[in-house]
């Protein structure tokens, strides 16, 4: 539906699910710690939503990683 924006073409891939599982956290627990709804964590994990810089930093901090270790830009060709 409609043209894709530049932001949509450059998807942000992430390792949140993998790192969250390693840390033994549920989506709800991670969401509570960063102050968002657990559904939002699901949307970010599936790449359906790119978080703000503040939220990305908070998630990385809870998972004990740097932002670059959690998020990477994945460009469509």
């Amino acid at each position: 539906m409609g043209r894709k924006s530049k932001q949509e073409e450059e998807r942000v891939a992430n390792r949140i699910e993998e790192l969250r599982t390693q840390a033994g956290l549920s989506r709800q627990e991670l969401a509570d710690q960063v102050g968002v709804h657990y559904q939002t964590i699901g949307y970010i994990e599936r790449g359906e939503y790119s978080p703000s810089l503040v939220l990305a930093l908070k998630i990385a901090a809870v998972l004990g990683k740097t932002v670059e270790q959690v998020f990477q830009i994945e460009e469509d060709n």
């Binding site: 989506r27 968002v36 709804h37 657990y38 559904q39 939002t40 699901g42 978080p51």
Partner: protein, 178 residues
């Protein structure tokens, strides 16, 4: 010694009750069945049917109560509010994803309302012009609606504005896993 007057205590009680009720409705998982994609599809279809179907039926067949229309719209809006966790009502309880989705819904709603109103005005103008000049085109509907149907038109316009943001929210629902 408690120096608060009865009015102040009633006001505080009312505010707390309102906050508790909204928090419960927003977070309680027993209402999650209203938040799935399937539920949102059904809810959107029912809302569209109520918004456009009831006045369309009334225009051509007459005899419906205005309160049926008002009640149907209020019921749909209430279910829509529950379905999206009151995202349009209170800024303080929504996170950045809901905030972005809400803003997108407002933009879409504005475009849709503007388009619907523009089409409606053009159709009425074209109909009036073709009736006056006997051009044979147009849908030739007499707009001698009578007071009863003008009330339907008024409620329809109000409903169009109120409901559009909920329809523009989209049909994508929440996943079940936490």
């Amino acid at each position: 010694m408690n120096s608060k007057s009865l009015e102040e205590r009633v006001e505080i009680f009312g505010k707390n009750l309102d906050i508790s009720l909204r928090t419960w409705v927003r977070n309680d998982r027993s209402l999650n069945f209203l938040r799935t994609t399937r539920a949102r599809v059904v809810l959107s279809a029912v809302t569209v049917l109520a918004l456009y179907g009831i006045p369309a039926f009334q225009m051509f067949y007459r005899g419906l109560s205005i309160w049926l229309y008002v009640g149907a719209l209020v019921f749909c809006v209430l279910l829509q509010k529950l379905s999206i966790r009151f995202a349009f009502d209170d800024d303080s309880h929504i996170d950045e994803y809901q905030h972005e989705r809400r803003n997108r819904a407002y933009r879409r709603a504005y475009k849709r309302v503007a388009t619907i109103l523009a089409i409606a005005i053009l159709l009425v103008a074209e109909n009036g012009y073709s009736l006056k000049h006997s051009l044979g085109s147009g849908f030739h509907y007499s707009f001698d609606l009578g007071s009863e149907n003008w009330v339907f038109v008024g409620v329809f316009v109000c409903g169009l504005f109120v409901v559009q943001k909920y329809l523009s929210w989209g049909i994508k629902g929440e996943s079940r896993s936490a």
